[in-house]
């Protein structure tokens, strides 16, 4: 197959010089408008606070490309949308590269160096590829239209839980209009491209170099055949081609010009957001620099540039809206709407030439664009939103940094105020004497080593709930007995231990967190041990991920993986396998936060349990509602609690015996929810430790310990 260089498409064929110049005027105008828009956006981000990104830029680029090219994040929990977006993305990308290739030759290589390559076989393959790309683009867009128009997905409903019908920003119809305008514009650009291609073929049907190679543009050739069958002449084709050429060309230029001003900008902002993402965004919250006068975010400019970029990356896909436990029970919070409100606020204030006065930059309040404190306090910091966001928006740090300002102003529930004062005074949230922290161990028939006084292999960080809550104390005693039985050399810090601070930090009381973290790091450092074990996922998270920032890097395990090793190594033997049907609730701080999904399930299997998963499991586990300090804030009366919502999900499992938890707060929350949802007696809520104890009978009856 050899083709001459006559096999190509002559650009601006039959155009006068004036017409070509006119097109370039439009082209440069579009580029100018685009560039100005980009400038305004970058100026907006630069008005945010400074932030130095850790890590290498190349690694970030690679990570971003891997996410973007694979569409891994977009396909999660919505495979169809993922595939449709892949079609649009790759279709658009190829068409863009195609246009760029033509520009490369026509505007750069040929005029400067006389190099031509866009002809012959290359041209034909190029035509074929772009024809296929166009089909992919239009196909993907058609599915998206079907999805928006017919599927009526709740996550694409823009009605807000934090506003009432009648509020000006209740359901934001302008977003719906923009979504449709975006889809239709691309569809029309794609379709007119094909019509244009076909009209050209009809027009040039007498030229064998064009006509005989037409099937390399199969869609265009098909439409051309149809046009001819309808009686379109060559002259008619020429006229149609000219009209379509201008329409298609100008629409494409308008589209390009509007990229920075519309949701189309997600092409750049989403990629940028993925590139600057922090894989530990919610696990390790940012510190407040000592130099910072007032902690937290009060003004929109207190957000750093990365957070402002996050706001623009959101494509309103609604995955966070769907995953949020607060939203699910009707609390006035949707992570999506927090992000969109702040984006509207940033656009209204930071896109103008002159930065408005500080008073007009306050993001706290009830006006459109502002965030109400009820919204911020509804958050459980469970990380469901951050985890599922396909474009790496980090909602939790944004919410916590705004809460820091509320804490500074004392704008919080009186009971939370009281709890924070109590923790400051006594080091625990129960208001118990420091001296009583180890009292749960008194009834045990053996003495637990004081790790401050003698070296131990394993230091057990007990945590507040496991130490002081009467129901959890029983579990704590059982775990002590298990460790004792397995011959583990372990100890605790007694009154040297304080509340780990995980939830205090997530409330936004950073100063108190610093006190607690420093105190615990000092206590841990003064003890001699090889590794830490904890039964509390909250303590686990902050010790593992946040204490290193306070000079305390320790090896720490959650008890689920520790017990798994004890059973696997034969130190604990399952002698009475449990013939029960169990479902496992992933605690946020063990699962989503630290990816500890498998160890508890493996332990359950070792114990002989049949595991039936709930629909929302592992990364999509549904928070019990106690996180982020919400355990210290009463839930509104009459509103469903997240824990009740969760228990109802478990209750539909046929023949369920036990709802297994592995977190002290979960035990408290779900035992309560079991009663209040009327499921008591149908199945039980148990700590995994209690099941282990049933399958591995201790030499002594448990009663001897309690």
């Amino acid at each position: 197959m050899s083709r001459t260089d006559a096999v190509t498409r002559i650009l601006f064929e039959a155009f006068s010089a004036a017409e070509v110049r006119l097109f370039y005027v439009f082209g440069y105008a579009a580029i100018g408008i685009f560039c100005y828009g980009v400038y305004v956006q970058i100026r907006k981000y630069r008005r945010g606070a400074a932030l130095n990104l850790p890590g290498s830029l190349w690694a970030r680029l690679g990570d971003m490309l891997a996410n973007v090219l694979s569409h891994r994040t977009i396909g999660r929990r919505d495979a169809a949308a993922g595939w449709a977006h892949r079609l649009i993305f790759y279709g658009f990308l190829l068409l863009f590269l195609g246009t760029a290739t033509i520009t490369l030759q026509y505007d750069i290589l040929e005029p400067l160096f006389g190099i031509r390559f866009w002809y012959g076989n290359f041209y034909l393959v190029f035509s074929l590829v772009l024809d296929v790309a166009g089909v992919a683009l239009i196909g993907g867009l058609a599915y998206m239209m079907y999805r928006r128009g017919w599927l009526k997905l709740p996550k694409l409903d823009y009605a807000r839980p934090d506003r009432s019908p009648g509020d000006p920003d209740f359901n934001r119809p302008q977003y719906r209009r923009e979504d449709w305008a975006f889809l239709w514009t691309l569809v029309v650009i794609g379709c007119t491209g094909y019509l244009l291609e076909a009209a050209r073929l009809v027009w040039l049907q007498a030229q064998p170099d064009v006509w005989d190679t037409r099937w390399w543009s199969p869609v265009g050739a098909l439409i051309a055949a149809g046009m001819r069958a309808l009686g379109l002449s060559a002259e008619g084709g020429g006229a149609l081609r000219l009209g379509l050429w201008w329409f298609h060309g100008l629409l494409a230029l308008v589209f390009i010009a509007l990229i920075p001003y519309s949701k189309v900008k997600h092409i750049f902002t989403a990629a940028g957001s993925l590139m600057v993402r922090d894989p530990q965004a919610a696990q390790r919250l940012p510190r407040v620099p000592d130099t910072e006068g007032s902690p937290g975010v009060a003004k929109i400019t207190d957000f750093n540039w990365k957070q402002l970029l996050n706001l623009d990356a959101c494509t309103k896909c609604g995955r966070c809206h769907e995953a949020c436990p607060a939203r699910a029970v009707g609390a006035p919070l949707s992570p999506r709407d927090v992000i969109l409100s702040l984006r509207e606020f940033a656009n209204a204030t930071l896109e103008s030439g002159v930065l408005p006065a500080a008073a007009d930059l306050d993001v706290h309040g009830k006006a459109p664009g502002q965030i109400a404190m009820e919204t911020l306090w509804s958050c459980r910091t469970c990380m469901a939103c951050v985890e599922i966001c396909p474009v790496a928006v980090e909602h939790v740090p944004i919410i916590v940094e705004m809460r820091r300002k509320l804490v500074e102003d004392g704008a919080m529930d009186p009971l939370l105020t009281k709890t924070l004062q109590t923790i400051h005074k006594t080091g625990n949230s129960f208001g118990e004497s420091k001296r009583k922290r180890g009292s749960w161990s008194k009834p045990l028939p053996f003495k637990i080593k004081d790790a401050r006084k003698e070296p131990v292999d394993v230091l057990w960080f007990v945590g507040d709930y496991a130490s002081f809550d009467p129901r959890n104390q029983k579990v704590t005693q059982t775990f002590a007995a298990l460790l004792h039985e397995a011959g583990v050399d372990f100890g605790i810090l007694y009154d040297g231990e304080s509340n780990a601070g995980n939830d205090v930090r997530r409330v936004g009381e950073e100063g108190l967190y610093e006190v607690l973290a420093n105190s615990n790091v000092a206590a841990l450092k003064s003890a001699s041990f090889k590794s830490i074990v904890t039964t509390d996922p909250h303590s686990y998270n902050t010790i593992r991920n946040e204490y290193p920032d306070f000079g305390g890097s320790f090896e720490i395990q959650h008890y689920t993986s520790f017990v798994k090793q004890l059973i696997a190594s034969g130190k604990l033997k399952v002698t009475q396998p449990l013939k029960i049907r169990a479902t496992f609730h992933d605690p946020c701080h063990l699962g989503r936060f630290n990816k500890g999904y498998e160890a508890p399930r493996e332990v359950l299997k070792m114990l002989g349990c049949e595991i039936v998963e709930m629909g929302r499991n592992r990364a999509n586990s549904f928070c019990c509602g106690a996180g982020g300090g919400r355990i210290w804030i009463p839930d509104p009366v009459g509103m469903e609690k997240p824990a009740q919502n969760r228990i109802k999900e478990a209750a539909v499992i046929p023949g369920l015996d036990v709802y297994v938890v592995s977190c002290p707060k979960d035990l408290t929350m779900f035992e309560d929810a079991l009663k209040t949802t009327g499921n008591e007696g149908k199945f039980a809520v148990k700590e995994l430790i209690e099941l282990i104890r049933e399958a591995i009978p201790l030499h002594r009856p448990l009663e001897a310990y309690a």
């Binding site: 919080m412 004062q421 400051h424 100063g511 610093e514």
Partner: protein
């Protein structure tokens, strides 16, 4: 103008406390210290008055006590006091509310304060006397157990309300300067974040001795006091017993108990 707020660091009992060797107080090892709850409300009331005032107001938190009291004073500074004064030396040991009030009055005179706020009472000793006694030393009018207050700095008088028995409210106008002791619930004390407490460390706490205030040795301590704590103790617990069973059984047991008390041998 200056408003002075008298505050006290109170002690709360920890688990399993013991009485000090001299038998007159609890062993300090078993006490958890914190700002007196009533003083939290009286400070908040003063801060609110300052914030609403048209003219500049300087708020001075004053306490009598050893160095550890600085912790509570820092909390006051974090919540909005401009300055703190702590009066202490060994001669103050053993002072009763009258002696403490003499010191507070001396500070108020030294500062030319135009108003003195105090809590109704302290949660540990509950004398409810210090504020009122200070008014006597200053020669100012006083009012106690205030549950609502309207006062603008510089005004000649203040209007306050007090809750009386039977759901009655009493509205009173008082000439200023005056000493007002504030009841719990008059407002919602603000939260002092740990960060603001840390930043308050930059504000100075002035430490004075009774001598600095022109007080003689006989004005403070036990010598300057009108009362003296003799002893502190946990009274013997009485006994209570629930008598169970049907009427006949209960009657039998009761009869046996009566005989036991009478000393009749069973």
């Amino acid at each position: 103008m200056k408003i002075m707020v008298a505050v006290k660091q109170v002690a709360a009992l920890d688990e399993d406390f013991t009485i000090r060797e001299d038998g007159r107080d609890v062993d300090a090892d078993f006490l958890i210290r914190d700002l007196n709850e009533w003083d939290d409300f009286s400070l908040e009331e003063a801060v609110k008055i300052k914030e609403a005032a048209a003219e500049p107001v300087e708020l001075i938190a004053v306490s009598v006590g050893p160095e550890e009291v600085d912790e509570s004073l820092r909390k006051c500074l974090a919540k909005g006091a401009d300055r703190a004064v702590r009066v202490w030396d060994g001669s103050l040991e053993g002072s009763d509310p009258i002696a403490i009030a003499r010191v507070l009055a001396a500070v108020a005179k030294r500062e030319s304060a135009r108003m003195l706020f105090a809590g109704v009472q302290s949660s540990d000793q509950s004398f409810a006397a210090t504020g009122i006694a200070a008014a006597a030393f200053l020669g100012w009018p006083h009012a106690a157990v205030i549950s609502q207050l309207e006062y603008a700095p510089g005004a000649k008088s203040a209007v306050f309300r007090r809750e009386l028995e039977g759901g009655l409210l009493q509205e009173v106008e008082i000439q200023c300067p005056a000493v007002l002791t504030i009841q719990l619930g008059i407002n919602t004390p603000r939260y002092a974040s740990l960060r603001s407490i840390k930043q308050a460390a930059a504000k100075r706490i002035e430490v004075l001795s009774p001598a600095d205030l022109g007080l003689a040795a006989g004005d403070v301590g036990e010598a300057g006091s009108a009362s003296r704590i003799r002893r502190m103790y946990v009274p013997d617990k009485g006994r209570a017993e629930l008598i169970e069973g049907d009427a006949a059984e209960q009657a039998l047991k009761l009869a046996a108990l009566i005989r036991e008390f009478k000393g009749d041998a069973a």
